[in-house]
Symmetry: C2
Amino acid sequence: MIRYPILRGTAGVKRPSTANRGMDLEAAINATNDYYAENDIAYIYKKPIPIQIVKVDYERRSAARISEAYYKIPSTTDYNGIYRGRYIDFEAKETKTKTAFPMKNIHEHQVLHLDHIVRHGGIGFIIVAFTTVGKTFLLDASHVVEFYRRADEGRKSIAYDEFERFGHEIPEGYIKRLDYLKIVDSVYFSQ
Amino acid sequence: MIRYPILRGTAGVKRPSTANRGMDLEAAINATNDYYAENDIAYIYKKPIPIQIVKVDYERRSAARISEAYYKIPSTTDYNGIYRGRYIDFEAKETKTKTAFPMKNIHEHQVLHLDHIVRHGGIGFIIVAFTTVGKTFLLDASHVVEFYRRADEGRKSIAYDEFERFGHEIPEGYIKRLDYLKIVDSVYFSQ
């Protein structure tokens, strides 16, 4: 029997590269969003990655080859869309740590972005997957803003316990791989 | 007196390149969105341009140089955001033609995107600037979808007259360069 290397969820096995880090959570969210869209539940999609284009080889845009470009620090979040008439916006991150989520994984502009969304009547949050622990949480933007401000005063992370206390665990499943709208229903639409 | 070449709004003068085509409308919308954000009226922003990345030179993402990439056909629109608690989504295009807006300027996925937005309770439209005529219109997504379907049957454009009939002219100004939310107020929030 061939034993393929297990790439995640095991402390002892090192992943071969960090290039695809975040792809598992991303794949789960994308599959879930496809399910939501196909069943007309919600329309939520991933934004393009922000790129600074420096050099393009041909003038005609349809045949253009970008030969020099760089990743930009994102000023918004990864995902946004619409659900039950409300604007939905979130950032999704994985972490291998067991005890805390390092704040450096979220950029200041993204926190400000979430704050803007909420102030104008939208729903904003982060989804953080603790891959070693095997649990994924939704944390409302108000807490993200609060914890981000606290980071200025020295605390550079959000403790796992704080996700358990202020966040909401997202159930994992087979078809709806990460049914976060179930949590959105109970947190933002109940009462 | 030196007469600088007038680059737009004159039929006889050819623009030196099409590379910046659309930048004037884009600049006007971006400046207007900045005004809206600074005055806490709305939070509407431009999405990154979708790029297909083929080759990246360094493994470490923070120092990565993208050395081969291509423009992708956009599957969503240029702008989205939130206003008075509602999801706002639109595509902005310029045309130099006087009589009609060619449908090829809008991709099928963008029309489907606008349709999704509207079906889930959002506000979707296109903004089209007729630069030679000097008028800019907002046209609701329902008409865009209708005219796009008609394009399958042979009509490949939306007539200028149809913008005057079904659309809404957007006033141009100095501080709020293109105050499209004034139109959004009257079209989507009145009654």
